[in-house]
């Protein structure tokens, strides 16, 4: 079992807490002049996303969490599971719906995603920051209306719905920021 001493605490360090992998997001040294020294940490549970505040006695050892982030290529999904491949080893990694969260709605195939693995099992999947997707359904465009700033819903090829400007047409390919789910631009063929 790998352990970390509180002396090694820094932001991003992965620890086990009550059986769950967690990541340190803030670490403060606290010590009364005549008393016990503590490390007060803010820690994010990587399974639930919840942020907790915990205090350790300085000098104590805490179990490390075997958490790594790697880039994997998305292959396909069967509605239940999502399949990824490590392009260097050709090893496959499978993520379930809960792990995918909203990531799946941006993927059509071959995208390189940032996957966080805990003991080899995916904890979370981040799609690329920008994806290019085809509009499969939207109201007819208002030609030349590039100035009013109005928006309308558009369904993309993966089924996700985003707001697009009024001048954008069905069957066009658009660039979307997956972090904000916002339209960025049209993509010219």
């Amino acid at each position: 079992m790998t352990t970390y001493s509180t002396n090694e605490f820094r932001n991003g360090l992965k620890l086990m807490l009550d059986g769950d992998p967690c990541s340190i997001i803030d670490n403060e040294f606290v010590k009364p002049g005549k008393g016990q020294a503590f490390n007060r940490v803010k820690i994010r549970n990587l399974k639930t996303g919840r942020v907790l505040e915990k205090t350790y006695k300085s000098g104590e050892s805490v179990e490390a969490a075997d958490v790594v982030g790697i880039e994997l290529q998305y292959l396909y999904n069967d509605g239940e599971m999502w399949y990824f491949m490590d392009t260097s080893s050709y090893e496959q990694v499978v993520a379930d719906k809960t792990t995918m969260d909203d990531a799946g709605q941006w993927l059509t195939g071959e995208e390189v995603c940032e996957v966080t693995l805990w003991n080899g099992v995916p904890l979370s999947v981040l799609p690329p920051n920008f994806v290019e997707l085809k509009i499969t359904e939207t109201d007819p465009g208002l030609k030349g209306d590039t100035a009013t700033g109005g928006a309308k819903p558009a369904t993309l090829e993966t089924g996700v719905i985003v707001k697009v400007p009024l001048f954008v047409e069905q069957d066009e390919i658009i660039k979307v920021d997956t972090r904000t789910a916002q339209y960025v631009s049209r993509v010219k063929d």
């Binding site: 002049g33 008393g35 020294a37 007060r40 205090t55």
Partner: protein, 315 residues
């Protein structure tokens, strides 16, 4: 040329620092307290299991072996020898050194004002500190017992609490340290829930600490049937600024406390520290009745200049 050669403290802060030192010296002179400067290196060290000394080594002229010494963690022991020798009330401004301490409010080397008043108890010394604070920036100070702070923010009397209650409360509040002794749990609870609320408006003195946290203070039987340590601390903006004692003068009890601390060090896998026999000798001869306080000057300056980190006030 090294890029980051500039000191972390501005010239403005440097000036505030000089003013603070000047005001303290004038204040002490006006009260008839004499300035002293005791050695920073000693063959003896602090046995407190929560304080780690910095070691230094040197060679005497012609000697084959190096001499291993400790940098003082506070000038307390040396100053008590002066008191026992009849110096009368004294103060000192000096650098002290503590290994394993570093952070926004901590540095392994910091400036301390330590002063002793013969014939004073803890409350008389708090009175005098309040006068100094009034001259500096704070017209009013408040005073409350450790127990009242604990009761207000944690809802129970720390002196009469079952150990199970302390650990259950600590766990509720995010203490992940596993089994811990009473003093560690009190440190956690007080620092987590009480200290951040202290001194938000006026500086606050907290007095009558639990007996297990007496350090070098006298312990008296409290009125309500439990012993309390005649120890106080000063808080400004939630920050611990000073720690004072109605000083223990009993040499035998002092020796017992040193030994107990060394046993605790051994149990925790820490190095035992050489007990200061010269201090015990001074106590055996007789330390006058006195109260003493150690005040962190860098933190006081942080409070005066509203600096966010100790680094910003260090020259």
């Amino acid at each position: 040329m090294k890029e980051n050669w500039r000191p972390s403290c501005t010239n403005e802060t440097l000036k505030a620092r000089a003013d603070l030192f000047g005001q303290i010296r004038a204040f002490m002179a006006g009260n008839g307290v004499m300035e002293v400067d005791t050695p920073a290196l000693s063959p003896y060290a602090n046995t407190d299991p929560h304080i780690e000394s910095v070691t230094a080594s040197l060679r005497l002229p012609g000697a084959n072996d190096k001499l291993s010494l400790y940098l003082h963690t506070s000038p307390e022991f040396a100053m008590k020898r002066l008191l026992a020798n009849g110096s009368g009330s004294i103060y000192q401004i000096c650098k002290v050194f503590r290994s394993e301490e570093f952070g926004n409010l901590h540095h392994f080397e910091f400036s301390m004002l330590e002063w002793y008043r013969t014939g004073f108890g803890q409350h008389e010394l708090m009175d005098e500190i309040a006068v100094l604070l009034r001259r500096l920036q704070w017209p009013e100070t408040e005073r409350r017992s450790y127990r009242s702070g604990f009761e207000e923010y944690l809802g129970f009397n720390p002196h009469a609490a079952e150990p199970g209650r302390l650990s259950a409360k600590a766990e509720d509040l995010g203490f992940a340290g596993g089994p811990a002794d009473e003093s560690t749990l009190l440190d956690f609870l007080f620092n987590h829930s009480v200290a951040p609320n202290l001194g938000v408006y006026n500086p606050v003195f907290v007095y009558d600490y639990p007996a297990c946290q007496a350090a070098l203070a006298r312990v008296r039987e409290g009125d309500e049937g439990y012993p309390v340590a005649e120890r106080f601390e000063l808080f400004i903006s939630g920050m611990e600024i000073a720690n004072g004692f109605y000083e223990l003068t009993d040499a035998d009890e002092q020796r017992d406390r040193f030994k107990r601390e060394n046993r605790l060090r051994q149990a925790r896998g820490l190095t035992e520290m050489p007990i200061d026999e010269t201090l015990l000798g001074a106590l055996e001869h007789g330390l006058p009745d006195c109260a003493g306080v150690a005040l962190g000057l860098d933190r006081l300056l942080m409070a005066l200049t509203r600096a966010s980190s100790i680094n910003k006030v260090r020259p």
